[in-house]
């Protein structure tokens, strides 16, 4: 039986969140009434000319540098010629040879192992208009009677990020998408909202027998718009292609569509012949020249990237999972660092922040900065737990009260009488009392039957109103019931 492996490449489109569009001064905001964010340029009226948005160029340079790409000193805008009603000029301004950035890579973490995904190129292009299909097709292009066109989105700057076919599993693909989203968000160049389409994936999948050198025929599934769907699409395609091949069939080179509801990909109508885009340098646009000085200016303005943040948080003691969660939220990460600075153990601070604190903010729908928690208070809390002054359940109660803004952990534990009693005299008095009332249980234990031991612990804790350190209680009881 053949063992198969998948070869996966991903093209990601990221809409940059600039104020204006890529080549005109219309707002880069597709919301609003149809065709109200349009001008001669983005409607491709006769005579209109494109002028590139300098901020968008900075955005792509940031992305390219963050992905460790080489920046081409001279890069060129091309026209990609094809007719489609949502493309006003019937050509898209894009890039072909000499894209802005090439030869980068991204490190992702899958099940604790680091995987490097090569980035072939990062190039600049413009978005198309939006089509609404009307008729019997239920909003789908198939069966539609006519189509309505809104060009508000036409011309919004798009960055396309293309990977090498380095990805082998759907899990890796998902991890890649997630890491790319984190990077783009950290750079602040896009809102990278998958559900809103401001970040979307085209997934190329092929399969081949393990050990084969040649690539199998690939399919491209377009506009997948969630990380979960990326994973499901790939799983489905791998499975489908293997079945086709094992049944003696051939995988067709085609574009497919992912249906979220049915969980399957279906073939889009294939063109009889492959597109001939007649790429040529756009004569309306000058070459883009990125001098080394400009490059280093952009580079020095880059924020800390998520991978670096995670590594730094880990060196402060956060475990891997917590480091990941903290790195995704600059507010949480800042609290964490403050707490560690104030003496908290990184491990404990990380667990509290990513567990109870995140759960609380979600539940109450508040931002962590709006709560009463500070790094200092978190450090105080963890110190009290470590010193045995708070049981873990009491610590949770204290933390919630801190979050609610009721004061510092010490004050709260005091006023709510949640402090643990480690005073041996008080505990011994309680033990005396319990043992006196349960002489038969003591006899059983001394006779080798340990069953009643837990019962005795419970009785002592009850006597103490739950505020005794259970470990101390156990130790003392063990001594007193020993034969």
């Amino acid at each position: 039986m053949t063992v198969w492996e998948a070869v996966i490449g991903i093209e990601t489109h990221v809409e940059l969140s600039t104020e204006s569009k890529m080549f005109c001064s219309c707002p880069a905001d597709a919301e609003g009434e149809p065709n109200t964010a349009c001008c001669p340029v983005c409607l491709a009226l006769p005579g209109a000319l494109p002028v590139p948005n300098g901020k968008a160029i900075e955005g792509i340079l940031k992305i390219g540098l963050a992905l460790d790409c080489d920046i081409n000193e001279s890069s060129i805008f091309y026209r990609k010629n094809y007719f489609y009603p949502d493309l006003p000029k019937n050509y898209q301004i894009s890039q072909y040879t000499f894209p802005v950035c090439e030869h980068g890579h991204i490190e992702i973490d899958v099940d604790g192992a680091s995987v490097r995904i090569g980035i072939t190129r990062v190039h600049m292009e413009e978005d198309t208009g939006k089509s609404t299909h009307v008729g019997d097709g239920d909003g789908r292009i198939h069966g539609a009677d006519h189509t309505l066109l809104d060009f508000n989105r036409a011309g919004i700057p798009l960055v396309e990020i293309v990977t090498e076919p380095d990805i082998r599993t759907s899990q890796e693909a998902r991890a890649y998408g997630a890491e790319l989203q984190r990077i783009v968000l950290a750079l602040g160049v896009s809102d990278a909202k998958l559900e809103a389409g401001s970040m979307r994936f085209d997934v190329n999948v092929s399969v081949r027998p393990v050990g084969a050198k040649e690539l199998g025929t690939r399919t491209e599934t377009k506009n997948v718009n969630s990380l979960r769907s990326v994973q499901r699409t790939i799983d489905y395609e791998i499975d489908r292609q293997i079945k086709v091949l094992e049944a003696g069939g051939e995988v067709r080179l085609e574009t497919r569509h992912w249906n979220e509801n049915t969980g399957v990909t279906t073939s889009m109508r294939t063109k009889e012949e492959s597109e001939d885009y007649r790429y040529f340098q756009d004569p309306d646009l000058l070459p883009l020249e990125v001098t080394p000085a400009w490059q280093s200016e952009i580079r020095s303005g880059l924020p800390e990237l998520p991978a670096i943040t995670r590594a730094r948080l880990a060196t402060l003691g956060a475990d891997m999972i917590a480091a990941g969660v903290l790195a995704d939220s600059s507010d949480l990460a800042a609290l964490f660092e403050e707490a560690v600075e104030a003496g908290a153990s990184g491990r404990a601070a990380g667990i509290w922040l990513t567990g109870e604190v995140v759960a609380y903010t979600r539940r109450s729908d508040v931002a962590v900065l709006e709560t009463g928690l500070t790094g200092g208070r978190l450090a105080e809390l963890t110190a009290m737990v470590e010193a045995g002054k708070l049981s873990s359940s009491a610590a949770k109660k204290v933390l919630i009260a801190v979050l609610e803004g009721e004061g510092s952990p010490e004050e709260i534990a005091e006023s709510k009488e949640l402090l643990q009693v480690s005073d041996i005299t008080a505990i011994e008095a309680a033990i005396d009392h319990v043992l006196a009332e349960n002489a038969d249980a003591v006899d059983k234990i001394r006779g080798g039957d340990m069953k009643p031991f837990g019962f005795l612990v419970g009785q002592v804790m009850r006597q103490m109103g739950g505020r005794a350190d259970p470990k101390v209680v156990r130790d003392l009881l063990t001594d007193r019931t020993a034969g």
């Binding site: 104020e19 109200t36 006519h146 189509t147």
Partner: protein, 94 residues
């Protein structure tokens, strides 16, 4: 020698619905013009870079600021078919 071209394919690529007769006429005219244009191939151009733009200029950018958009009616009134503030076209798939 006139250049032989697949005029049907070229017309389809250019989205021009031409009649058989037009295809014949244009096909042979293009062949003649290309025979003439082919003369450019006689010139040795090894190592000569292409000119896409007559002046050696680079980096023309806009500031990222918005300006007023067109009033929708000002262009929709010239559109062949509209509905609800949008352009309307026939079905896309056959």
């Amino acid at each position: 020698m006139p250049v032989e071209i697949d005029i049907v394919k070229v017309a389809a690529l250019a989205r021009l619905a031409l009649t058989e007769e037009e295809l014949d006429t244009f096909g042979s005219q293009l062949g003649d013009i290309l025979e003439h244009a082919e003369r450019v191939q006689a010139l040795p151009t090894d190592g000569v870079p292409p000119t896409s733009h007559p002046l050696p200029m680079v980096n023309a950018f806009r500031e990222d600021v918005t300006a007023e958009c067109l009033d929708r009616e000002s262009f929709l009134r010239s559109a062949p078919d509209t509905a609800g503030g949008q352009f309307r076209v026939p079905r896309i798939l056959a």
